[in-house]
């Protein structure tokens, strides 16, 4: 299989959604869309599954809550019970603020690091030469190219008809 793909550059968001629909109708396989801002409606068009990130957030929050309550109870009522103003050792109402903060902290840390982990972001990630202006004002549609002879012409035609300002054939290393 040839390692080539066709990239169409657009400047209008609505043109992108239109182009994706046309591509699907023509049976062209869209690999990805690269954009400088989020575009709504892409998930359905590209068949991106709903993220399970909220479950990780929930898990992190519950872990924080459990840790907060357990640590406070254990240290205040079990490990070294200390009489403070005659209050009960297991004074749970007083444990609420710290438990709450740890819930938020656990949920937030899990959300951020879950996000970074799932989409593979880290400081040492190598980014090759990025597609021109896709972090500026252009939206790129990347189409898979299975047949080097027939498809390029059709792909180029479809994308130009849909309002692409530039269409480039990329060869992958």
């Amino acid at each position: 299989m040839s390692r080539r793909q066709m990239v169409g550059y657009f400047e209008e968001e609505s043109a992108v959604l239109h182009a994706l629909r046309i591509c699907r109708e023509r049976g062209l396989e869209t690999l990805d869309v690269v954009s400088p801002f989020p575009i709504h409606g892409l998930d359905e068009a590209l068949g991106i599954r709903r993220t399970r990130l909220p479950w990780l957030t929930l898990a992190g929050g519950l872990a924080g809550l459990a840790l907060g309550l357990a640590a406070q109870y254990w240290s205040s009522a079990s490990d070294w019970p200390l009489d403070v103003g005659g209050k009960p050792f297991d004074s749970f109402p007083a444990f609420v603020p710290v438990a709450f903060e740890l819930t938020i902290l656990g949920a937030g840390l899990c959300t951020v690091f879950g996000l970074l982990g799932r989409i593979g972001l880290h400081p040492w990630r190598r980014v090759g030469p990025t597609r021109p202006r896709t972090s500026d004002d252009r939206i790129a549609i990347v189409l898979a190219q299975h047949d080097a002879r027939v498809e390029p012409r059709e792909m180029r035609q479809v994308m130009l008809e849909c309002g692409a300002v530039e269409v480039v054939e990329e060869e992958l290393p």
Partner: protein
């Protein structure tokens, strides 16, 4: 969206202009005005460093505190700075949940303001300890003293967790928001700058899947930050409300402190934004619609602050407690009455001027009002803290608190730290959230609201 109301961003702005306008201050040499600002802020910071070093060496006897007034400038400044931070979270989180599009131009700098304000706030309890090298004692960690654990029933310890969580979550939320914009800066840069921004942007490329995950994560963080911001100043207010000092132990304190924090924070956002749009030439992005929206928030929260003051007075009168009634009579007509006057004047009376269209539309007037709000909210904390402590239960222990030059220098130093950090932020990081602003541009220029098939 833009058909009936005036556009948020000047309507001829295109995504490419946004990138250029926001990135170019990072790419050229700073203006003389920036250097001047850094010189002033840096000098103030240096003064603060000298004062803090001196008081750490000599001890907090260098402050004007005594056995009656145990909290003075230090805790006033702490509460003031934590409050300033709250508007940043409100703008970035609460307004995101309410889908208020106007937040996009100011959320980045408001969040930066939050982080810098919390840094300033965090310094004060630490230096107030007197022996800041033992500050880690506030954390529960296995130690050789038993282990003896921290007292989880104390509001002061709740503060440690509230402020710590608030700082962490605010920093993460801000950084996650920065990632796509840092990638934009990276793509425009060459040489070592490309390398540095490449690390900072964590290899973001803006693929459809990453944007989809990214937006979910931002919504989750906003949903977490919203109750967090309410909890933080509620916990701060508990430092006072759980005590037995008349003027402090009031039920109204948590909501009163939270709304006051939002009010003071919006005052500071307005101050900073009005300067930034002038100095950085961002009139196109921080438009009159933004100023008007913030003015409305200021009038609304200022009025609630007024209601809280009235509630305090009513509760004092209705309680029938002689001490409570004396505290409030003393607060208004006692030796600190002038401070109470500044507080009510700046926080309740002055913002009401914003009802007038002429005032709202004058940038200078709004700027002056925002400064007065900052002053008024600092005095609110001063009145609550020092005003309530000065007149003790025993008239024989009554004193008058006078701040020493060291305390004044530390206050000035905290402003120096805040503005130094803010100026560095303006210079090295994109001050306006490009990826978000690009989604609220007018439809004919590729904004996200260009629904319909005209391709």
């Amino acid at each position: 969206m833009v058909s009936s109301t005036p556009p948020l961003i000047a309507h001829d702005t295109r995504p490419r202009d946004v990138t250029r306008d926001v990135c170019s201050p990072l790419e050229r040499k700073p203006k003389a005005l920036w250097w001047l600002g850094l010189l002033v802020a840096g000098s103030a910071l240096l003064l603060g460093v000298v004062c803090v070093a001196y008081q750490i060496r000599v001890g907090i006897g260098t402050w004007g505190l005594d056995r009656t007034v145990g909290w003075g400038f230090d805790i006033t400044n702490f509460v003031f700075w934590v409050g300033i931070g709250h508007a940043g979270t409100l703008i970035s989180a609460v307004l995101l949940l309410f889908r208020q599009k106007w937040r996009t131009s100011i959320n980045r700098s408001a969040e930066a303001m939050t982080i810098f304000a919390v840094i300033c706030a965090g310094l004060f309890p630490v230096i107030h300890m007197g022996r800041p090298w033992l500050a880690f004692w506030v954390f529960p960690y296995p130690n050789g003293r038993g282990p003896l654990w921290v007292n989880f029933r104390s509001a002061l310890l709740w503060d440690v967790f509230a402020i710590g969580t608030y700082f962490t979550i605010s920093l993460l939320f801000w950084y996650v928001g920065l990632i796509p914009d840092l990638a934009t800066v990276r793509d425009r840069a060459r040489g070592w700058r490309r390398k540095v921004y490449g690390w900072l942007s964590l290899g973001w490329t803006g693929t459809a899947r990453s944007w989809s995950r990214y937006e979910v994560a931002c919504a989750l963080l906003a949903a977490l930050a919203t109750p967090l911001v309410v909890s933080v100043h509620s916990v701060v207010s508990s430092d006072f409300a759980t005590s037995v000092i008349p003027g402090w132990h009031a039920n109204v304190f948590p909501p009163y402190f939270v709304i006051g924090a939002v009010f003071s924070g919006f005052g500071m956002v307005l101050t900073l934004m009005l300067v930034a749009r002038k100095v950085m030439g961002y009139e196109r992005y921080i438009t009159h619609s933004h100023i008007l929206a913030m003015c409305k928030v200021l009038v609304f929260t200022g009025s609630i602050v007024g209601l809280a003051y009235a509630t305090e007075l009513f509760t004092a009168w209705y309680s029938g407690s002689a001490y409570e009634q004396f505290t409030f009579a003393n607060r208004m007509r006692g030796p600190m009455g002038w401070a109470y006057g500044i507080m009510v004047g700046c926080n309740v009376v002055v913002p009401q001027l914003l009802w007038l269209s002429r005032v709202r539309h004058s940038v200078l007037a709004v700027f002056v009002i925002s400064l007065l709000v900052n002053v008024g909210m600092w005095f609110e904390r001063f009145v609550i803290i020092v005003g309530s402590l000065e007149r003790d239960f025993l008239p024989s222990s009554w004193t008058s608190y006078v701040p020493t030059p060291v305390e004044l220098g530390t206050l000035i130093g905290s402003f120096g730290l805040f503005f130094t950090l803010f100026l560095l932020f303006c210079r090295y990081l994109p001050m306006i959230s490009m990826s978000e602003v690009k989604t609220v541009l007018a439809p004919e220029h590729g904004g996200a609201h260009s629904h319909g098939d005209h391709a």
